[in-house]
């Protein structure tokens, strides 16, 4: 293997571990210790998608995400400390405690924000792409959503307009088989979701979302086409939600063994690790060293965030409007 490829794989590995360990911290420490409020939607099992896609993007490309967006944010380079702080409601959070787990945003990383209102983020992504195009820029907009969103009218209105106006937006559907309790067979009239936008001339491509290399290659082609030809692309990633819908989900609707079996067989981190070891890209001590280093990084970010200050109550009244004068 060429050094370049080896380095790339190790980057994938590190970024996927960062997401995995971040989410495990949320699940195993923040949740039992009640360090966050509301609910948190974990990205465990889907890491290869955010990492593969983000590596195909440029730093100045935009990402607009969903309620399940911790992984999208980390992959785009949002600081784990700012994210832990936000999820714990501290002033040091990326949104100063106003947003929480479902509303992470970091304009400086072009991580436009999470939008947990299902379907609503696709028109916003298309609008961003309109602005990009109108400005004459060659940036692209990556729009993540779950398979549940393709049943929302907003997605279809956005897909049609993006195709009609040839806007540089990547529609990225993460098909993890469930929308809360509803399996995809019970929500979509057809199961090949890559065809859900074909009436807008937007042929989708189905990709194995557990294989980071497959994600990366598909995303690279899609990003290149979208950037060079200024037009939308649509990718559908087959994946699986390993955890409950959110941290309070009792998962009465799917057999527990299903999750465990799937986890073993399709864990994207393990798949990558195994592939790298099998073809001698890395040896086991190297993977252990990576794991230790990333875990330390996450532990340190969490420990620091935990001590961060709380916002003063009256801060709630800020940011409702801008303070700038009419331009």
């Amino acid at each position: 293997m060429e050094t370049k490829d080896r380095e790339l794989l190790l980057h994938f590995y590190e970024d996927m571990l960062r997401i995995r360990f971040f989410e495990e911290k949320v699940r195993d420490v923040l949740l039992p210790q009640r360090l966050f409020r509301g609910s948190s939607h974990l990205y465990i099992g889907q890491e290869a998608i955010a990492v593969g896609v983000t590596h195909a993007l440029r730093d100045d490309d935009y990402v607009i995400s969903t309620h399940r967006g911790h992984g999208h944010a980390l992959a785009k380079g949002v600081d784990p400390y700012a994210m832990f702080s936000e999820i714990m409601g501290r002033t040091t959070g990326c949104c100063q405690g106003y947003g929480g787990s479902m509303h992470l945003a970091d304009a400086s990383r072009r991580f436009v924000g999470e939008d947990p209102v299902i379907g609503s983020n696709s028109p916003i992504a298309a609008g961003l792409a309109l602005a990009v195009k109108q400005r004459g820029s060659d940036q692209v907009v990556a729009n993540y959503f779950g398979e549940g969103a393709v049943n929302a009218g907003a997605f279809h209105e956005a897909a049609n307009l993006a195709a009609l106006w040839q806007l540089p937006v990547l529609f990225l559907c993460e098909n993890n088989l469930y929308a809360i309790s509803v399996p995809v067979e019970q929500s979509s009239a057809i199961q090949d979701l890559e065809n859900r936008a074909c009436s807008y001339g937007l042929a989708g491509r189905r990709v194995n979302g557990q294989d980071v290399m497959a994600v990366y290659n598909a995303a690279r082609e899609a990003v290149a086409a979208t950037r060079q030809q200024s037009r939308p692309s649509y990718l559908v990633f087959d994946t699986y939600r390993f955890e409950g819908h959110h941290t309070a989900d009792k998962e009465t609707y799917r057999p527990a063994e299903e999750a465990v079996e799937e986890f073993r067989a399709r864990d994207p981190v393990h798949l990558l690790e195994k592939a790298m070891i099998d073809d001698h890209t890395v040896d086991i001590p190297t993977t252990i060293a990576y794991r230790d280093r990333v875990r330390e990084e996450i532990d340190a970010a969490f420990d620091r965030a935990r001590e961060a200050p709380w916002p003063a109550p009256e801060q709630a009244l800020r940011f409702v409007y801008t303070e700038s004068e009419v331009r």
């Binding site: 409020r37 409601g89 947003g99 509303h103 379907g119 907003a154 109550p313 709630a316």
Partner: protein, 329 residues
């Protein structure tokens, strides 16, 4: 059935009872919404209904709020009595076209040809860190629309009796629950009880001040009344139960007795429904008022995530007690 027997139920169980009873009574009643079948609804209100009534009458939908509300309207036109669940009232914004532009006006625009027996249930409210898009209190949006009825129960007995009345009503009803009030318990008669829409209930009798409130905040006002009673202050707590139609007579009777009015709600104060009540009472009972009415509600900002800020925005029992005490001082 034993007469006068009471059961202690949560809001969730009371609502579930109402749905079950109405579905048993009338096979045209159907329930549809997201995750309401096997899952029983994210707040458990429809638990067991699909098992009892089958997937044709208890339908899990995709995430398609426009279709959920629009199809409820169509189904009502077609002879069913649909009860649609919108998972969070914030997403009534998606369903609002069907509710506001169509359901509210279909009868009117047709010169009275149609009746529209549909209910849209949805949980509102904050207090649990669900932040700006899953915590709003939007009742005022719907009270402003002629053709809609708006129901906001505060206790399990009312929840059950009002939901049954809403299902039997031939008009579109927006039935707003509170997501942090589902576990609140209270007595519910074992026997059938229908509570008519448009009849207020005096939840606590008193002499010094009429407090009008609804939904979860009504129960916070009852707590405040208990605390102030120990200080010798007597609150009369009135629950309109339905905001549209509004039982102004009961509120005015109370104000005639106490000479003072405070309205307390969780929603943003500016443009909130409290303003309507105050305006009506001022017009109707000017001569009875000893003091300008008081309004307590949320300041003009979205619901923030972080705990200290959210508790500042949503009126707490302590805030209510302090404000009412100061008002009477």
């Amino acid at each position: 059935m034993e007469k006068g027997r009471m059961r202690n139920l949560t809001m969730t169980a009371a609502l579930n009872t109402a749905l079950r009873e109405e579905m048993r009574r009338d096979e045209t009643v159907i329930v549809m919404g997201e995750d309401i079948g096997v899952y029983g609804g994210v707040y458990g209100v429809t638990i067991g209904l699909q098992r009892e009534f089958g997937p044709d009458r208890v339908r899990d939908t995709p995430i398609s709020e426009m279709a959920i509300a629009g199809m409820a309207l169509g189904a009502a036109l077609g002879g069913l009595r649909p009860v649609a669940e919108i998972m969070y009232c914030d997403f009534l914004a998606h369903a609002a076209d069907a509710i506001v532009n169509n359901a509210a006006k279909w009868r009117y625009m047709s010169g009275g040809q149609y009746a529209l027996p549909l209910v849209v249930r949805s949980p509102a409210g904050g207090g649990g860190g669900t932040a700006a898009q899953h915590s709003q209190s939007l009742e005022a949006w719907f009270t402003h629309i002629p053709g809609l009825k708006v129901v906001m129960p505060s206790v399990p007995r009312d929840a059950r009796g009002l939901l049954k009345a809403a299902i039997r009503d031939d008009n579109p009803v927006v039935f707003i629950e509170h997501k942090h009030h589902y576990t609140y318990k209270g007595e519910v008669p074992a026997e059938e009880e229908i509570i008519p829409l448009g009849v207020a209930d005096v939840k606590r009798a008193g002499t010094d001040l009429t407090v009008v409130s609804w939904s979860r905040h009504l129960t916070l006002c009852l707590e405040a009344a208990e605390i102030l009673a120990a200080e010798g202050i007597s609150l009369e707590v009135v629950d309109p139960r339905t905001l549209q139609p509004l039982d102004l007579a009961t509120i005015c009777q109370s104000v005639a007795k106490t000479g003072r009015l405070a309205v307390v709600h969780e929603a943003v104060l500016f443009g909130g429904f409290g303003g309507e009540i105050v305006a009506q009472v001022v017009q109707e009972c000017w001569g009875d008022l000893k003091q300008p009415p008081l309004r307590i509600g949320a300041p003009f900002c979205p619901i923030p995530y972080s705990e200290p800020m959210e508790s500042f925005v949503i009126p707490q029992v302590t805030t209510i007690v302090d404000r009412l005490r100061a008002y009477l001082a």
